[in-house]
């Protein structure tokens, strides 16, 4: 009788790959193998004929930059720290992260930016207050000219109440430069200590913006000989 059951079972079995055979044998416990050999084949073929389905998927990086404000303002703006992560969400630079929460004050690095396009000449501004900026090593100064206020990088001896000049004029004689004024490099005498330098006129300051070492209050004073 066992042989008859076995031959009936053997007759119903067809040639399958060893992987499927092992799979089918491992699906059910060994005690029930003989009785349910008939049922194994349809399930394994169903498994064979099924389209593979993904049951898990990797998360995509939802990175939106916090720099969405298009209009200039002097009020501090909330910012999000990067922690060294780039737009994919992975660490690109190690060692960055943590620290006190900061708000960003929008700094105007293009000093010669006349308020009204109608009056293009050099203009003066008054320093209202010099304060600490958590986002950079240098202090920043709130200056007001005409009817607009803006933040700029403060130089070492800048105090509230100073008048600073922003000019784009290059004359025949070199200008007697005062601290805090902004002139084209061609108008300054050789040997003046400068900071917040732009590589071409209208680009905005990109070089020499950090604070000097020692007492923290001001900008560094590198000497540039021309």
């Amino acid at each position: 009788m066992a042989l008859r059951v076995l031959t009936r079972a053997m007759g119903s079995l067809s040639l399958t790959t060893p992987a499927v055979a092992t799979l089918s044998s491992s699906l059910l416990p060994a005690a029930q193998v003989t009785s349910s050999t008939l049922l194994q084949l349809p399930s394994s073929s169903l498994l064979l004929l099924c389209r593979p389905v993904l049951t898990s998927v990797a998360l995509s990086a939802n990175f939106v930059s916090w720099k969405s404000r298009t209009k200039y303002t002097i009020t501090p703006v909330k910012m999000r720290k990067s922690g060294g992560r780039n737009h994919t969400g992975r660490i690109q630079v190690h060692g960055i992260g943590g620290g006190h929460k900061q708000r960003y004050r929008m700094i105007d690095f293009l000093r010669f930016r006349p308020e009204l396009e109608a009056k293009p000449g050099p203009f003066e501004e008054k320093v209202i207050v010099v304060r600490y900026d958590p986002c950079r090593s240098a202090d920043i100064a709130l200056v007001a000219g005409g009817s607009r206020k803006r933040w700029i990088i403060a130089t070492e001896n800048m105090q509230a109440g100073d008048i600073i000049l922003n000019s784009d004029h290059i004359g025949r004689m070199a200008v007697a430069a005062r601290e805090g004024d902004a002139h084209p490099l061609g108008a300054l005498p050789v040997g003046t200590l400068i900071n917040n330098v732009e590589s071409e006129p209208g680009r905005g300051a990109q070089y020499i913006r950090a604070a000097g070492s020692g007492n923290v209050h001001g900008n560094s004073r590198p000497g540039i000989q021309r």
């Binding site: 939106v64 293009l110 003066e124 008054k126 905005g204």
Partner: protein, 423 residues
Amino acid sequence: MALASGPARRALARPGPLGLGGCGTPTRGAYEWGVRSTRKPEPPPLDRVYEIPGLEPITYAGKMHFMPGLARPVFPPWDPGWTHPKFRRPTPIHEQPLYKDRACYVFHHRCRLLEGVKQALWLTKAKLIEGLPKKVLSLVDDPKNHIENQDERILNVIFHARLWHSTEDTPKRETYCPVIVDSLIQLCKSQILKHPSLARRICAKNYTLSTTWNRESFLLQVRGSSGAQLNTKDPLPAIASKEEVEATKNHVLETFYPISPTIDLQECNVYDVKDNTGFQEGYPYPYPHTLYFLETASLRPHRLQPDHLRAKMILFAFGNALAQARRLYGSDTKVLEQPVVVQSVGTDGRVFQFLVLQLNTTDLASNEGVKNLVWVDSDQLLYQHFWCRPVIKKKVVVEPVGPTGFQPETFRKFLALYLHGAV
């Protein structure tokens, strides 16, 4: 040109990012706020077919699906025929009915002027005098004007406002500041029995004010509502004599170059020029007497600094006086025969600022001529500090509950300003 290849040819062909900009213009401008990834993407440009005038482009609009060779159809914006009140857009500024080309600089109750009192004086063409006028100071010292048990009653008022009035341990400024001002006015009103003409007054809250004037090519406007206003049936008499008024002709207003006098004022192109005193014609109490300004914000950055508060008091008192003068004497600019006097008290519950403004002239366009007069008494403490809970060190009460550094002088000035005009 033929020998150049690849990047060199591109560099020669279009001056741009590779450093060969045109003469004077930078290859890249200064930083523009807002990174490109957060800006809204531009709509795709129209097909070149639309640039040819008179030609009707063949689009795939009829086919109801995209077709590679045909032009992209341009549909008119869909007008659903109705707008949900939640999602109504305001009409563009240029199409609003009150739009004007000339910009108007509006001062409202939240403006903080950068130069403070100096800027307010320039805007109102006024001369500042420290200290209250002698007439008012004589009322302060006169013992006939004092209330019986005055000091005791004021201490009760302070206790009530700062401690007893609410069930919290330490009431906030929003609660105690209006209570203290209302109680002090109530104390002043108790003098009606001695001076019956005090009954010809009324206290109004939530008033609106709007006046416009020209000041050296700027159009200025004061608008808004703030605090309480005391109105009377009879106007206040002029304080400064004619000689003093004439003497102000020699006074030169302080300018603050390079800052423009309209800094921190709201610039708008949609405005209405009419004067509004806040009350209709035929109101039984037409003359403004005193304005009360309360600084009720609990957080210090939200409160106005004393300098800004004084500037706001000057401008609102001036606005009231100007509206009154225009109502009485017409809107032409001239030197007033009967100057209009308006008083003002500003407080944050502890520190008081007193102000008396005399409007001598409505000719504000030029910088010369007669100026208006402003008497300011600033930073008068009513009490230095109030302990809501006693300070106990080593089981000994060091500071009891109550105010420290109480100055009765401040309330006497408050009372004098209240009685001025009726005594």
